[in-house]
């Protein structure tokens, strides 16, 4: 599953970048995130409930910052496993100044395995897109005060 989208924020690139590496803000912006704890310079432990409606699974995993060039770009890698299977994703983010704010381009790749791949494959792309859109929408709300 590959997604690409662009988001616009009324905040400067530095502020956007800072938010992306702040575990407290990440936890607020990720729907269903029950824990986001910094465990090292570039690593976090995370517990997230992912799904739609009544079909949700709890995933335990790690988020890692693969590459960062503040405030222009950052690549995040996440993987987790839970009852319904495992998930893995990489998001390559580029932030550039846009007027008085920023434009953020996100290219992400996701893979799932186990039960959700076997029975839910038609939902995976839609759920992934929804999660990504939701995340950046919440980030936008936070950044705009």
């Amino acid at each position: 599953m590959k997604l690409a989208a662009t988001y616009v924020f009324r905040a400067l690139p530095e502020k956007v970048f800072a938010a992306l590496i702040d575990p407290a803000i990440l936890q607020k912006c990720i729907e269903g995130c029950e824990k986001m704890e910094k465990t090292g310079e570039d690593t976090y432990d995370a517990n997230i409930k992912i799904g739609v409606a009544g079909i949700k699974g709890s995933y335990v995993g790690k988020v890692r910052i693969e590459e960062k060039k503040p405030p222009e770009s950052i690549t995040l890698q996440a993987e987790g496993k839970g009852g319904p299977g495992w998930v893995k994703g990489t998001a390559r983010i580029q932030i550039s100044p846009e007027g008085e704010g920023s434009e953020l381009e996100c290219e992400s790749e996701g893979q799932v395995g186990g039960l959700i791949a076997q029975v839910g494959s038609r939902l995976v792309e839609a759920v992934g897109k929804k999660m990504q859109d939701e995340f950046f929408r919440k980030l936008g709300k936070y950044l705009e005060g």
Partner: protein
């Protein structure tokens, strides 16, 4: 070999049961729901097993944490590869290929997992629910590795290896040099190329797998009930794994809800459940769920072939060179490497090709193993050669029927040796073709197509003239004996018990073998019972697969009846104060020539034979006999299927408008059973042609793991059939019978494929791969600029 007076049955059939369309004795219990499947068995004290299975296609196992799960109330034990693999042998392959590289197949995963669904650990608990709950508490830590999925990419130099210790993804290579191929190609007017893919399919028997094992500590013996097609083969192979002697194992196939080849195997789960029953000294039962069945029960087909065809401009097909890649998955199950070799052997179909060269490469990938699935290698062959025939016709602008007739042997040319070295026993391909065209009202159908095309419709007619090889076969050519065993016993009361070494699981031999016995013995059919499936009762057998039971099992029964009749004649002679030569046997009665009034029936003879007060000197008590029938050859059923389809130009949907099948399975014991087999085979072919496809994504995740995504035909998808038959007896057995169980699956897919390609041909489309899903068809139309 033709049937002569020497090898023809010495006993004449009477009463007319043979050949009669009769309802099955099996059906009332199946329909009423009172049949006993594995899950119905009530075993006191039984424990329930559930398997932890890998969600990764290729990964190292870093750790398995079972402490929390073990504490769950009702959990009796949790076992991993570390607990079990040194105590249970590895899963065997009965048909290895010389020079092939077979990976060691431990019953539970060891250091690595190799496919999604690979069993990693097993929980045993007091109830199935507790076992299932325990699965959620077990944590397995994996280190995923890149998965090997595309078999052609797997052969490239820099591909990751499915089994690194083998050093290659090539599982085996096999070649069939059939005749002077190079010479034939030199003679050719032109050479056609055709790349053809047969997708991977999932058998999806209505009853998933399941087994239950019970250890009898006092006797150190084990009983294994398992939903299997092959209790005898399991009884031969399993003892080595669980380390008990062969004669301490009893294997029972209870009612089995479909096999189609997916239960023609010895599975890891059967070995693990047996081992655990011994280890825990309590019976253990395992019932597979549908998702497990889709992932971890053998798959079928999955071949890519690049063909070169040498032809002459008059339509003669001289030779074929075929390079086949078979994606066999990660392990070698019972017959994994053998299946695609059957494709090679049958590649000339029913035609007199001068030469055939097949180069087959089996490839290891991170998927479930392929193995037999209804047709087992022959559907792939028929599909290929029948597509080739249509391609030759379209390239040369000839009639596809004429091209076939041109390349077929005459019925007088049998037995006929093919370029691949097989001896086809008997055949009359022209007859079946003619009959099918008659039933199809061929000229009218052609006119219908012309009119439809004028009106802008995509209307196609396709046919397949197929032949297949079944009722394997002579023991010399088989992995471990191709005979079949049958026992007939006249009881003291005169009732008859027939015991077969075949293991019907839906094929209906409880009825058809009773018909055979009733006719040959001259007893009412109600007096006959047919037993099967229990190695303690049918103490020899080669079980049921490859459409062999009637040809081989039925023949063994006839052999046994002949022995009994001989013996009965001796006894009758003594009782009637005559000599055996003077005794006639007719309609179940023994009498002195001409003196029909003083006849002895089976009841009287049996009574004398067992009570044994009046036996002539040297006469051994009893009236029962068992026999092994050793076939001199396989049988080669054949037929013609004709299909008319309409393709919706805008949506790509294919509708089957007309379906005609004429199949020749030699002499017919019960036409109702034959019709059922043909219909079922066609239904599965409709699935393969139009909608079935086992899909793994690039990470080796099985995306078609449930019926939500794996489409099998429903009742409304099956067309109305017009069925006919011809009868060309087989000289390979005394009954003159050929197999029929797989014919429908072999003849139908190519006919449907040819019809769809014919429908699309006005757009310039010369070939399209299976399955013909709406999108695939639509895209082919788009590529050719066809309006949508």
């Amino acid at each position: 070999m033709t049937v002569t007076t020497e090898n023809a049955p010495k006993v004449k059939a009477s009463q007319g049961y043979f050949g009669r369309a009769m309802k099955r004795v099996e059906d009332p219990r199946l329909i009423k729901g009172i049949a006993t499947y594995v899950d119905d068995l009530k075993i006191p004290g039984v424990l329930h097993a559930e398997f932890v299975r890998s969600p990764h296609a290729n990964a190292k196992i870093k750790s398995i944490k079972t402490d929390t799960a073990k504490k769950l109330q009702g959990v009796v034990g949790i076992f991993t590869g570390a607990d079990v693999n040194d105590k249970v042998g590895t899963i065997p392959c009965a048909s290895p290929i010389p020079g092939g590289k077979s990976p060691e197949h431990t019953v539970l995963a060891g250091a690595r997992v190799y496919f999604v669904g690979h069993p990693v650990a097993v929980v045993v608990a007091e109830t199935r629910t507790i076992a299932r709950d325990a699965l959620d508490l077990i944590e397995v830590d994996y280190e995923p590795l890149p998965a090997v999925i595309d078999p052609e990419k797997a052969l490239e130099k820099d591909s990751p290896l499915t089994h690194p210790e083998l050093g290659t993804n090539v599982a085996f290579t096999w070649s069939l040099p059939g005749g002077d191929v190079d010479g034939a190609f030199k003679e050719a007017d032109s050479v056609l190329k055709l790349r053809i893919i047969h997708p991977r399919l999932t058998p999806m028997a209505i009853e998933p797998r399941g087994c239950a094992a019970s250890w009898h500590a006092g006797e150190s013996s084990l009983t294994l009930w398992t939903s299997t097609q092959i209790p005898h083969l399991v009884r031969t192979l399993l003892p080595g794994l669980i380390r008990i002697p062969e004669n301490k194992l009893r294997v029972v196939a209870p009612e089995v809800g479909g096999g189609f080849g997916s239960k023609l195997n010895l599975y890891a789960e059967e070995a693990v459940v047996s081992h655990l029953a011994m280890r825990l000294d309590r019976p253990v039962k395992w019932i597979e769920g549908r998702r497990e069945n889709a992932a971890a029960t053998t798959h079928g087909r999955d071949q890519i072939a690049d063909n070169e065809i040498a032809i002459q401009k008059d339509g003669t097909v001289l030779a074929i060179r075929s390079k086949i890649i078979a994606d066999v998955g990660s392990y070698w199950q019972l017959l994994t490497p053998a299946i695609p070799t059957l494709t090679g052997l049958m590649l000339c179909g029913c035609y007199k090709l001068k030469a055939v060269r097949v180069d087959l490469t089996g490839v290891h990938t991170n998927k479930m193993s392929t193995d037999a699935y209804r047709g087992a290698g022959r559907p792939e062959a028929a599909y290929m050669i029948e597509r080739v025939m249509d391609l030759v016709a379209s390239e040369l602008g000839l009639d596809p029927v004429e091209v076939r007739l041109k390349n077929m042997p005459e019925s007088t040319e049998f037995p006929f040796t093919t370029a691949t070295g097989l001896l086809y026993d008997s055949g009359n391909y022209q007859d079946a073709l003619e009959k099918a065209q008659e039933l199809a009202e061929w000229p009218k159908l052609i006119k219908e197509r012309d009119a439809a095309r004028k009106a802008g419709r995509l209307f196609g007619i396709g046919l397949s003239t197929y032949v297949e090889i079944c009722a394997l076969g002579p023991s010399k050519t088989m992995a471990a004996g191709g005979w079949e065993w049958g026992c007939v016993r006249i009881e003291i009361s005169g009732k008859v018990t027939v015991i077969t070494g075949a293991t019907p699981h839906g094929q209906g031999q409880e009825t058809s073998f009773a018909q055979i016995a009733a006719d040959w013995l001259g007893v009412p059919i109600e007096d006959i019972v047919v037993l099967r499936g229990d190695t303690a009762t049918a103490h020899f057998g080669r079980d049921t697969y490859g459409s062999r039971a009637t040809a081989l099992g039925g023949s063994a029964i006839v052999m046994s009846i002949e022995k009994i009749v001989e013996k009965a004649k001796t006894l009758a002679a003594a009782l009637l104060k005559s000599t055996p030569k003077e005794i006639e046997f007719k309609n179940g009665k023994f009498f002195v020539n001409g003196d029909g009034k003083n006849a002895l029936g089976w009841g009287q003879l049996a009574s004398e034979a067992y009570i044994a007060k009046n036996l002539p000197p040297g006469f051994e008590p009893g009236l029962e006999a068992s026999s092994f029938f050793e076939p001199p050859n396989c049988t080669f059923p054949f037929g013609t299927h004709i299909v008319a389809v309409d393709v919706d130009r805008e949506t790509g949907q294919v509708s089957i408008l007309k379906y005609i099948a004429v199949d020749d399975c030699g002499k017919q014991v019960n036409p109702l059973l034959i019709e059922g087999q043909v219909q079922g085979g066609i239904a599965q072919s409709v699935g393969a042609a139009l909608m079935e496809n086992t899909v793994y994504d690039e990470n080796g995740q099985l995306l078609t793991g449930e019926f939500m995504d794996y489409a099998i035909p429903r009742a409304k998808d099956i067309p109305d059939f017009i069925l006919g038959s011809t009868e060309t007896p087989s000289p390979s057995n005394p009954l003159g019978v050929k197999g029929v169980g797989e014919a429908g699956t072999i003849g139908a897919t190519p006919a449907i494929a040819n019809a769809v390609v014919d429908a699309l041909s006005p757009l310039g489309i010369r070939h399209l791969d299976l399955p013909f899903t709406p999108e695939r068809v639509w895209r082919a139309i788009q590529e050719k600029g066809g309006r949508s």
